[in-house]
């Protein structure tokens, strides 16, 4: 039996290497169920609350799909309109109420630390589905699953994280996780959006070497994985400057000529202009598969936490 039963998942940093390994291996077993080839009733009778104070298509639907594929049910809300939240109910009170209706709670909230607060007010397991600019551990787990599933290992892989590394929460969490798992990291961003110093220090403390680069063209040849993220317009005071910077991190088909044959390109989606649509047709593109992987990974996590036993 794993140590997952009844546990909160608030930050990827709460999970050990062995925990991550267990989630990934369990997720692999879930794939035939996730695609509807096999049936499972392992969470029959279990109810998951999905409290989405901020709308999120992918995360909420994949949690609900995951629960349904395992024979359980999901209930909840998306956006706080029409709920008691709008009447000024505190998160603490909402969680205490919802705890009576379900076996586990998935929470997406606009404020950092919301999931940790929620976990303090309930004995039911809380899964953080994104708290403001903070943590989104199930996104990190599905990112890790995608790399592991495609490459078979993390160790020695050259993983290039590209785009807004300063504010992007997915790349922060992924960096912490990959630093534990032994990948070689390449940080590619404009100078104004570089990875925060404390995260670079953390990678250094883990004894790993990394590279900081400003041009995608300089690293694409060495990369085994390119993880592209969105550069947001609001980070730039001058719209022209934004166009220039965002354009220089766009992945085009002709850039891939020098790339490794088995390079994979990932993106947490939604994308805007970071990856040219022509790239979708290359064998490098795995971002839609990555989005699908959210289902088996969340199935694995729910099954481990709610104790269905895969």
């Amino acid at each position: 039996m794993s140590g997952f039963r009844g546990r909160d998942v608030l930050s990827i940093r709460d999970l050990s290497r062995a925990d991550i390994d267990l989630v990934l291996r369990t997720a692999k077993k879930m794939v035939p169920i996730a695609v509807g080839e096999k049936r499972s009733r392992s969470l029959e009778g279990k109810i998951l609350s999905t409290l989405f104070y901020e709308p999120s298509t992918r995360t909420r639907l994949s949690f609900e799909s995951a629960m349904a594929r395992l024979g359980g049910r999901a209930l909840g809300f998306s956006g706080s309109e029409g709920t008691s939240v709008q009447k000024g109910e505190s998160l603490a009170d909402t969680v205490r109420m919802v705890e009576a209706y379900s076996d586990a709670i998935v929470l997406r909230h606009s404020h950092e630390g919301a999931a940790r607060l929620a976990a303090e007010f309930t004995d039911k397991p809380v899964i953080n589905a994104g708290d403001g600019a903070g943590q989104h551990p199930t996104q990190t787990l599905l990112d890790l699953y995608t790399i592991w599933d495609e490459k078979g290992t993390f160790e020695g892989q050259n993983v290039a994280l590209v785009g807004d590394l300063k504010y992007g929460r997915t790349v922060h969490s992924l960096t912490y996780a990959l630093a534990e798992l032994g990948s070689h990291l390449i940080f590619v961003s404009p100078e104004t959006l570089e990875m925060p110093r404390e995260i670079l220090e953390h990678v250094k403390e883990r004894g790993l070497s990394f590279r900081v680069a400003h041009r995608l063209e300089d690293v694409i040849r060495d990369a085994d994985v390119v993880y592209a993220t969105r550069i947001q317009k609001e980070r730039f005071p001058d719209p022209q400057e934004y166009e220039k910077v965002a354009g220089s991190y766009r992945i085009e088909v002709d850039m891939l000529r020098d790339a490794k044959r088995d390079l994979i390109i990932m993106h947490p989606l939604p994308r805007t202009t970071e990856i040219a649509p022509e790239v979708d047709r290359t064998k490098h593109a795995v971002y839609f598969k990555q989005a699908f992987n959210g289902v088996p990974v969340r199935m694995a996590l729910l099954d481990l936490i709610l104790g269905g036993g895969a």
Binding site: S90, L91, A92, E112, G113, R116, G132, G134
Partner: protein
């Protein structure tokens, strides 16, 4: 007869060995402003054998709660707190920095859940005592200007 710069107090608290220059911050922590009922004496830049220079704060007719002492520890871990009763030192306490600072600091991140109307107290984990570094338990951010965020 040697003239005393600061006279002894009958009842109250003497906070001694405050690093020179921090006395006014200690006053801020104790909430000593316009409306104070008793006499407060502040001595700044006093020669000290152990520290070279130090500040001293004496507050009459008031004994400090443990939370106030924790707050002082955040900015002056070297300070000593003497409780005076009837001109005698009734208790001598050295401030100690707790591992967790509960309810005494405000998170600087405006988007942190601890700054929203929720029934919780702020909580910071002390990551390093010297230099003092604290991290918000909720949003995980390090607090940059600790003194400015004392509640």
């Amino acid at each position: 007869m040697r003239e005393l710069r600061v006279t002894p107090i009958k009842n109250g608290t003497v906070i001694d060995h405050i690093p020179a220059g921090l006395a006014l911050k200690v006053l801020k922590i104790l909430g000593i402003g316009d409306a104070v009922a008793s006499t407060v004496t502040v001595a700044m830049h006093v020669p000290s054998q152990a520290m070279g220079w130090k500040d001293i704060v004496k507050v009459e007719d008031r004994e400090l709660g443990s939370r106030e002492i924790d707050k002082i520890a955040l900015i002056a871990p070297s300070a000593t707190v003497n409780v005076i009763r009837n001109y005698n030192v009734a208790e001598k306490r050295r401030v100690t920095l707790p591992d967790r600072a509960v309810g005494i600091l405000r998170c600087a991140n405006p988007n942190c859940i601890s700054n929203v109307k929720e029934p919780i107290e702020s909580e910071f984990l002390v990551r390093s005592k010297s230099p003092l570094r604290v991290v918000c338990k909720y949003c995980d951010r390090e607090l940059e200007d600790i003194v400015a965020h004392i509640l």
